[in-house]
Symmetry: C2
């Protein structure tokens, strides 16, 4: 990432925090900078280690809380909502998933159109493609009712 776009993103971050009424603490800034620095979809412990040199007193719990806050406010996002539990699929036919980000319910969808989606050349360039699925992240009707 070049300097201009980093500065731009940092300004945007400050603006987003103001709008969301989030304090811009040194810890939050450090975590956000670590995220900008990263290029590999970091896990909380990677962020923690990356922040540690410039912030030796930060705690693991704080990193978790900050990341969750950022996610809640649309500043960053989880790569998958299904990170906290192993889920198995017995169906072998090619299909796709609707996933409720709140209750983690998973619904299958079959769609010929989706099955035929264009596979970008970079996918097969260096990798052995096993399969692909489209994940539709939603809030399901039950969870909407609860809010």
């Amino acid at each position: 990432m070049n300097l201009d776009s980093r500065t731009e993103l940092l300004n945007e971050f400050v603006e987003t925090c103001r709008q969301a009424e989030l304090s811009i603490t040194p810890q939050r800034l450090a975590v956000y900078k670590a995220l900008l620095r990263s290029d590999n979809h970091p896990s909380p412990d990677m962020i923690y280690k990356s922040v540690l040199p410039e912030f030796p007193t930060i705690s693991f719990a704080t990193v978790y809380k900050i990341l969750e806050t950022f996610d809640q406010n649309g500043i960053i996002s989880k790569v998958t909502a299904l990170h906290n539990k192993l889920r198995y699929d017995p169906i072998k036919e090619h299909h796709h998933h609707i996933i409720c980000v709140k209750c983690k319910k998973i619904i299958d969808i079959k769609s010929d159109d989706l099955d035929k989606l264009p596979i970008p050349s970079e996918v097969k360039e260096d990798n052995e493609l096993i399969d692909f699925t489209v994940h539709f992240n939603v809030i399901c009707s039950e969870c909407r009712k609860k809010d």
Copy 2:
């Protein structure tokens, strides 16, 4: 699932086990039947609870081992390879992911074609769509070299 297709799948299961030189133990059969019974992409503990009435002595570790074995032999599959660690994405532009199922490396892909994929009507029917991403599950070149 109707009886015919259940019987068919069970026969297929037996055949797959033979080909993979897997013993067909009562425990494995019970777990497989529980998977067929399920319609909600069960987690290991859901499978465990589902098997328990007909198999009160089965252990949690066995369920995990059986599910892993089934996955390794293509009998079932994980809904996401990223279940064992939270991963964050700082990029807000719409994009998609190449995921190595071995080392869990994640690579971004941008593609206008993928962004425009047809969203099945059932997705928006009852749910509030937040976003969607295509997950390309691969074995990356580094991991292939290791094997």
